[in-house]
């Protein structure tokens, strides 16, 4: 187990290093350098040089990369990414960590609530539908899940706004957060974003669980258990479900990636001030340091999510651990 953990952890570090190099190079090849854009038509050779010097852009790319990651240049007082310092935002002239600020927790709040609303219900409904395939109930649930995997988040979100906010007037159209408030002090704004994310995640996990349960229920050992006269309830819960849930766990890990991608869209649909919305804003504003920091944070969250799922999988399935 220790070796397994060591291999997985080193893979995470490797992935993050690759991501950081990739995102840095992406910034390098952007057309037109940052200072030309920033100064706009007020540009003079002097102001350009001053700007380049101020943002350390006059030095070679490898030096700047190392400074960004490890803060090797003591002059600018930056500690580097490894110490949690992501540098300064170009446009807002504040530290990236300050710009991100509460938004990180707002996004986490949204993702965590959606995750815990969707996964248990999806697994339960999946098991329920899987033990009675092709019944009326199964068909209805499967149809709902089919719609869930087919509707893009921005369509689901827009329809929810139309029905719940615009027509029925139950909820606010936009999920903005006022000064001095948090999502939890005004939970109304969370309802539609959570519903949108939950619908997608529910559909995928429910389909996966259902398919696995159907497959396991047809296996010989479950048939034996049924023929032995063990009550059906016990057959399902003790014999079938533990095996059927194993592949579901890896899908749950993939869902963490879907959730992150979904956040970008859902936060845009509802104007929810989270990381996804900030990412899009930093893209539109050409704010490289902010964009780089956000991508690293999102990639980090994604890989950690994958690691947790891997560990859970290995814990539940000894074949992986000792392979």
């Amino acid at each position: 187990m220790a070796r397994f953990l060591a291999v997985r952890l080193s893979l995470i570090v490797l992935t993050l290093v690759l991501v950081s190099v990739a995102i840095f190079i992406a910034g390098e090849v952007l057309p037109g350098d940052a200072c030309t854009k920033k100064l706009g038509r007020f540009i003079t050779p002097d102001s350009y040089r001053a700007c380049m010097a101020e943002w350390d852009l006059d030095r070679s790319a490898p030096v700047r990369y190392l400074d960004w990651i490890a803060g090797v240049d003591p002059g600018d007082g930056s500690g580097g990414v490894i110490l949690g310092d992501f540098g300064y935002s170009f446009n807002q002239l504040r530290p990236v960590t300050e710009v991100i600020g509460h938004r990180f927790w707002y996004s986490v709040t949204l993702a965590v609530i959606a995750f815990f609303a969707a996964v248990p219900t999806a697994v339960l409904v999946g098991i329920w539908a899987g033990v009675r395939p092709d019944s009326i109930g199964d068909r209805i649930v499967s149809a709902v899940a089919m719609v869930g995997i087919s509707l893009p988040e921005f369509v689901t979100g827009s329809l929810l706004i139309l029905i719940l906010a615009s027509e029925l007037d139950l909820l606010p159209t936009l999920s903005t957060i006022a000064e001095g408030e948090t999502p939890l002090t005004n939970p109304k704004i969370l309802v539609m974003p959570v519903l949108t994310l939950t619908f997608v995640v529910f559909a995928y996990i429910m389909r996966m669980t259902r398919a696995n349960v159907i497959e396991v229920m047809q296996s010989n050992y479950v048939r034996t258990a049924i023929l032995k006269g063990i009550p059906m309830r016990r057959v399902v819960l003790r014999h079938a479900v533990p095996n059927a849930l194993l592949p579901t766990i890896s899908v749950v890990a993939q869902m963490s990636g879907w959730l992150l991608a979904g956040l970008i869209i859902v936060e845009t649909v509802f104007s929810y001030p989270g990381l996804g919305q900030l990412l899009l804003a930093s893209i539109n504003a050409d704010d490289q340091p902010l964009l780089q920091g956000l991508v690293l944070i999102i990639a980090g969250a994604y890989t950690v999510g994958n690691l947790v799922a891997d560990l859970l999988y290995a814990y539940l399935d000894p074949r992986i651990r000792y392979a």
Partner: protein
């Protein structure tokens, strides 16, 4: 699960044939139809997909208006089905606003305002005129607010926009029809590129085996550890603003980038599936005998093993197509795909959501189109998978 009408023979190597003749194409089509129509899902999904394909090909000719036909005076016109409220009767112009008001009831409803917008090209309104028909092309000038009542008898013009018009004054129906082609084409190209790359990498790596396989699979693992939409965003941001490497490509450069990124995002998942098929087929007799005949690796991979994977590829293609539609339309919605104002479903929803409270049809038409397309593709994928008895694999 429904009993499979056709048990898959993909791993046993029965369907292999070397001849790429016309009869092979016919047989492939027959096989596909048998699989697609073998289950209820497929029987519902295939017609939906075919209908969308029809619109993608012929949409621009079916559309009542050109998607570039902007009429500023026709903004936010309500769709035909929303206009029952504008009944025959007497109306007055409310002072200071461009609205008509029913004479006998003082309250002006929101619906009424929209209905009026439809009736806006009222023909040459003059004082106390009786509007008998509404003619196309005539403009509305509000010269005397609070003038004498106008009598509206028929509103022919209101039937002109089935799904209303949007914030530009485009006909929503025409714009939706026109949006099918680019979305389906880009998504299909992305999915096909992913299938191609994944097949080459997966089958090559699996067939060669050894160190090469080891290294390639580690790289594939690393690629899987990166969220797809994020990768797509980054590539578009980095390369999207630049000029295309070849001038003639400039118009399509964003689309080309989207296709390439979707292909790269799909590579790891597909290559894993194709690798496992190759590994299973590798030690079977028909591959052995081909090897003993002295056939090249490429021949064995593409002419001996690949034909056995066609069913899997058909399912993969359908599943990937649905993902790819979701990605491509999401990019349009986020404003990173086609230009604003383009006839693209994602762009339409992204622009229309600002006006969703007053003019929901701007969003509803493309939303319905995109939803039905993806549902159709997913149903088709499910149908083929069930009919061919393939295991239900969730791919990423």
């Amino acid at each position: 699960m429904a009993s499979p009408a056709f048990t898959g023979e993909i791993y046993t190597g029965v369907v292999r044939s070397a001849g790429a003749s016309l009869s092979a194409v016919g047989r492939g089509l027959r096989n596909f139809l048998r699989l697609a129509l073998g289950t209820t899902s497929g029987r519902i999904g295939l017609p939906i997909v075919l209908a969308h394909a029809f619109v993608a090909i012929f949409g621009p000719w079916l559309a009542p208006y050109s998607p570039t036909d902007i009429r500023a005076e026709h903004q936010f016109v309500a769709p035909a089905w929303k206009q029952e409220f504008l009944s025959v009767g007497k109306y007055v112009i409310v002072a200071g606003s461009e609205t008509l008001q029913a004479l006998d009831n003082g309250v002006l409803s929101e619906e009424f305002r929209k209905g009026f917008a439809v009736a806006s090209p009222l023909s040459n309104l003059t004082d106390a005129a009786t509007v008998s028909t509404v003619q196309e092309g005539s403009s509305w000038t509000l010269n005397q607010p609070g003038a004498a009542p106008y009598e509206v008898t028929t509103i022919e013009g209101s039937k002109r926009y089935w799904f209303g018009t949007d914030n530009y004054g485009f006909d929503t129906f025409s714009r939706t029809l026109a949006g099918a082609r680019s979305l389906i084409l880009i998504s299909l190209c992305g999915a096909l590129l992913g299938i191609f790359l994944g097949t080459v990498v997966g089958m090559g790596s699996g067939y060669k085996g050894g160190k090469i396989d080891e290294v390639v699979m580690r790289i594939v693992d690393a690629m899987m550890a990166f969220p797809g939409l994020l990768l797509t965003l980054l590539i578009l941001v980095t390369l999207g603003d630049r000029d295309a490497p070849w001038g003639w490509l400039n118009d399509q450069w964003t689309n080309v980038l989207i296709v390439i990124t979707v292909g790269i995002v799909f590579l790891p998942g597909i290559s894993r599936v194709m690798r496992s098929i190759t590994l299973k087929a590798k030690n079977q007799e028909f591959v052995m005998s081909a090897r003993l005949r002295g056939e090249s690796a490429a021949y064995i991979i593409f002419r001996e093993i690949l034909p056995n994977a066609m069913t899997v590829l058909a399912v993969e293609l359908a599943v990937r197509l649905s993902y790819s539609i979701l990605i491509v339309s999401s990019l349009g919605f986020l404003g990173l795909g086609p230009e604003p104002g383009t006839a693209d479903w994602g762009v339409m929803i992204g622009e229309g959501r600002t006006y969703i409270a007053d003019s929901p049809w701007i969003v509803l038409a493309p939303a319905g189109a995109i939803s039905s397309l993806v549902v159709g593709v997913n149903l088709l994928a499910d149908g083929i998978r069930q009919a061919s008895g393939l295991p239900r694999e969730i791919t990423s």
